[in-house]
């Protein structure tokens, strides 16, 4: 059973179904496809499907693939929690749909529930509670799926890739973007995107600044900004979009007693996407909010193999080796290794950093003080963007474990940055 029909869940379903497994994939939305359904710009598919597609086309591609392979795809079906399944093996979840309540049992459950942006309240932005306050997700749906008017003058909070997507959506809706605001001293998108917004579309980027208050009763009338040096200004606008600042949609994972990574807030998994609950896997943005859709889809494909192994009666490790990060790194996914088979199915690890990493700095992987791997980052890295780490070194972990050198259990793997 797959929970969530976004790119990750759909890609996984297609591959599992193609292997002859009976797969049921549910999504609470009326249409399958996940977030790309409302990302109307092109920029999907290039990396994994080798063609330029819009989000909805990309979503359709994976939904069709899953159905063609024989997966049962059910939409408008919400998984509301775990139920006490029959004793021992199978897992059971409760669902609600217009057809009523159901208990679905399965031998493996894959969580692919995605991620969302933290709204204004969760960011503790003070002020009044006027209309006109959005996240990118809500904005895109309002404009592209419901064709609703938004406002006239908008401020976009954030300057990462998704923030520029918000700018584009606002422009499509005929809204003037009066400013983008980021607390960091630089934007975190690709230079071309940022340049295009600033030069061709005249959207000023205010750096080192944060929104310190929302103003207006009934409707937003402006946002107060505070610059790092203490200066304050007010920008008049009737719309503000809070972008980025992701949080995995981990409710089901947490309610299932699955251990989460404290920093990423996604379920803690190993290289085979296994959580610490037997038979429960997790893939996609639930693990790493937020990566491009192609990454989520690829994980879905890669997860098929471990799920099949589990269904064939594969064993589980009794304990995992934790993979931890040191400042300024924020989190890493996957973040545990199976000592017997520390292989990482996806092309490596993804990490995030809290502070900028300068060009030529290195990621260093150690275990019990021994350096396992050193990887130079020629271009450095910025917060809010992927940092990738190769998984080649995991073979050394295995070698150590099988050779039972000194201490077979050993300590955690630690990843740090050297400048």
């Amino acid at each position: 059973m797959v929970v969530g029909a976004g790119p990750a869940g759909l890609a996984l379903s297609s591959r599992l179904a193609a292997s002859g497994i009976s797969v049921e994939t549910v999504d609470r939305e009326d249409q399958p496809g996940g977030v790309p359904r409302h990302c109307f710009h092109s920029g999907f598919g290039l990396r994994d499907l080798r063609r330029r597609m819009t989000g909805p086309a990309y979503a359709r591609h994976w939904a069709d693939a899953a159905v063609r392979a024989g997966a049962v795809l059910r939409t408008g079906v919400t998984v509301t929690g775990w139920s006490e399944g029959p004793p021992a093996d199978p897992l059971a979840v409760d669902v609600t749909s217009p057809a009523g309540l159901e208990r679905i049992t399965a031998r493996a459950v894959v969580l692919a529930t995605g991620a969302r942006e933290r709204p204004r309240s969760a960011r503790l932005v003070p002020g009044t509670r006027p209309a006109g306050v959005f996240t990118t997700g809500e904005l895109q749906q309002a404009v592209h799926l419901h064709h609703r008017p938004v406002g006239r003058r908008a401020v976009v909070v954030g300057a990462e890739q998704v923030s520029y997507a918000a700018v584009r959506t606002l422009r499509d809706a005929g809204v003037e973007v009066v400013a983008m605001v980021t607390e960091l001293p630089y934007h975190q998108a690709s230079p071309a995107t940022a340049l295009d917004a600033r030069l061709r579309h005249g959207v000023p980027l205010l750096v080192d600044a944060r929104v310190s208050e929302l103003l207006g009763r009934g409707r937003l009338t402006g946002v107060a900004l505070r610059h790092r040096d203490g200066r304050g200004t007010t920008v008049a606008c009737d719309t503000v979009v809070f972008t980025g600042d992701w949080i995995p949609d981990h409710e089901l994972a947490r309610r299932g007693g699955i251990t989460l990574d404290r920093a990423s807030r996604g379920p803690s998994v190993d290289g085979s996407f296994r959580t610490d609950r037997a038979g429960v896997f997790a893939v996609g943005n639930l693990l790493h909010a937020v990566e491009p859709a192609s990454t989520a889809a690829r994980e879905g494909l890669l997860a098929a193999e471990p799920v099949l192994r589990h269904l064939a009666g594969g064993t589980r490790p009794l304990a995992w080796i934790p993979v931890q990060v040191e400042e300024p790194l924020l989190w890493v996914a996957p973040n545990r290794l199976d000592p017997a088979d520390p292989r990482v199915e996806a092309g490596g690890f993804v990490l995030r950093t809290e502070g900028r990493l300068g060009p030529w700095s290195s990621l260093v992987v150690r275990r019990d003080g021994r350096v396992l791997h050193r990887q130079r980052m020629v271009r450095g890295a910025v917060p809010g963007r992927t940092v990738r780490l190769s998984a080649a070194w995991t073979a050394k972990v295995r070698a150590e474990v099988t050779a039972a050198v000194r201490d077979p259990d050993g300590g955690p793997v630690r990843i740090s940055v050297e400048r």
């Binding site: 009523g100 969760a122 503790l124 003070p126 002020g127 809500e138 799926l145 609703r148 006239r152 009934g218």
Partner: protein, 481 residues
């Protein structure tokens, strides 16, 4: 059944007009609906319960810590019992989870017996002191340093939105006229035996008796009739609401030991399954200052970290602020002016939700004493409210409801699991919402952790189709011109 939102008011003479459709005014209108009176409830806002009544800590108090002998003490005590049984009758979510007054040092610990004695003087004798180790086993997530507590088993949590809406709905169904978007701005002189003429934003209104339940504005309204015996100072309370996943951290209402500055910051579950931290207490002079502030939120987080450190690691769902109607006096300012056919219900500060039904009964007594001919009471048309609480099954959990109407199985707001059926019902109810906020108070749609990331556009589209949203497309377009 009459609810109006625009246009001129009925050209008739009401027996009683109640000004202000907060929880207090709505309770009064409901109580008046028992009698053969023509009653109108008039409200400046486009919805009921849009003032202080929507933004409080939602506790059904026992009144254990009231000022003994005060009118407030009596009305809170009586009001609690009345509302508790009313809630059961019409499905207002209530959970009798009890409170623990937590002492954080020796001095506070020493203050507990006196509080127990005060409770007894208020007729509340079920308090009990709880030793540190028992406290820890009952609330294992409390921060370090809690040295004991006073247990007040009767304190409960309640849904304030459903309460106000239930009163107003029942009043309307029983014959009261509700006029929204109708601020009363002037009161004519009363000539003997002739009705009084009120000026409103929607034209004239005539009535024999007048009840002022204008909340924060009760003092200003009083001035229109020449009374100056109290003034309202808004005392802001900011609150932080944490995610439903935090609910298992806390099982009681955790009250601080009160100080001279007020009741202090509490941590409490809500009937919606969240956890609330607050409120602050800030005296202001702006009666509309319901915004939150950086200082207020920092203060709450600092307090919260001591009470329950793990709570601060949870996601925040909402931040809001309410204004208490403080008067500088130690009691409610409920005054009858028989010669004017007028009753003022002022200074209903931090206990008005609990006391509302008892206040209403008291006001009807005052009107009767003043000479209003109310006749004999009759039964009200019963109401059953949609359930917003987590303690009993919500529609998405009910196979029977979904079988009868699949719309209750079609979830629109995923975080709060609100179905299309519930949204449809709210939009078609006797008192429909006038804004996304109003819809949220009736269904919880938009009120969850994502605050609209997933469902915002869909919910607004449903609202828009019903023509209820003041910020609908048409009004935006008009504003653009």
């Amino acid at each position: 059944m009459t609810v109006t939102v625009s246009g001129p008011l009925p050209d008739e003479v009401y027996d009683v007009v109640v000004v202000g459709a907060g929880v207090v005014g709505a309770a009064i209108a409901r109580e008046l609906a028992r009698y053969r009176l023509r009653t109108a409830l008039v409200e400046a806002s486009g919805d009921v319960g849009d003032g202080t009544s929507k933004a409080n800590t939602a506790i059904l108090h026992t009144g254990f810590d009231a000022v003994p002998g005060s009118l407030e003490a009596r009305l809170v005590r009586e009001g609690r019992d009345r509302l508790a049984s009313y809630a059961e009758e019409c499905g207002i979510p209530v959970e009798p989870i009890g409170a623990l007054l937590v002492a954080w040092d020796e001095e506070q610990l020493a203050a507990l017996p006196a509080l127990a004695r005060k409770a007894a003087r208020n007729g509340y004798r079920r308090t009990r002191t709880v030793a540190a180790d028992e406290l820890r086993s009952r609330e294992p997530h409390l921060g370090s340093g809690a040295s004991g507590a006073l247990e007040v088993p009767g304190e409960s949590i309640i849904c304030p939105w459903t309460t106000t809406l239930a009163y107003a709905t029942q009043a309307v169904r029983s014959g009261v006229d509700l006029h929204l978007n109708c601020r009363v701005t002037g009161v004519g002189e009363s000539a003997a035996r002739s009705p009084r003429l009120l000026t409103t934003g929607r034209g004239p209104l005539r009535t024999k008796w007048l009840v002022n339940a204008a909340g924060l504005y009760a003092d200003e309204f009083d001035r229109l009739l020449g009374h100056t015996d109290f003034s309202v100072t808004p005392r802001r309370g900011q609150l932080i609401v944490f995610d439903k996943l935090a609910r298992q951290l806390v099982s009681h209402i955790l009250l601080p030991v009160p100080t001279a500055l007020g009741k202090g910051v509490l941590v409490s579950p809500t009937v919606y399954g969240n956890v609330m931290l607050g409120p602050t207490a800030e005296d202001l002079d702006d009666k509309e200052a319901t915004g939150s502030t950086a200082e207020g939120l920092a203060f709450l987080r600092e307090r919260g970290r001591r009470i329950m450190p793990e709570l601060l690691d949870e996601e925040v769902t909402a931040v809001y602020a309410g204004l208490r109607a403080a008067t500088g006096q130690d009691d409610y300012a409920i005054r009858s002016h028989p010669e004017q056919g007028y009753v003022t219900v002022g200074g209903i500060r931090s206990t008005g939700l609990t006391a509302s039904m008892a206040i209403a009964a008291h006001v009807v007594e005052l009107l009767t004493e003043a000479g209003a001919k109310v006749g004999t009471a009759r039964d009200l048309v019963p109401v059953t409210m949609p359930n917003l609480g987590e303690a009993s099954p919500r529609p998405y959990q009910r196979a029977d409801l979904i079988a009868a109407d699949p719309a209750y199985g079609a979830l629109v707001c995923h975080c709060e699991r609100v179905s299309r059926g519930e949204i449809r019902d709210a939009l078609a109810a006797d008192i429909p919402p006038s804004s996304p906020e109003g819809l949220r108070r009736r269904t919880r749609a938009l009120g969850g952790r994502c605050q609209g990331f997933y469902c915002g556009a869909a919910v607004r589209a449903l609202l828009d189709a019903s023509g209820a949203d003041a910020w609908s497309s048409s009004s935006l377009r008009e504003a653009a011109r």
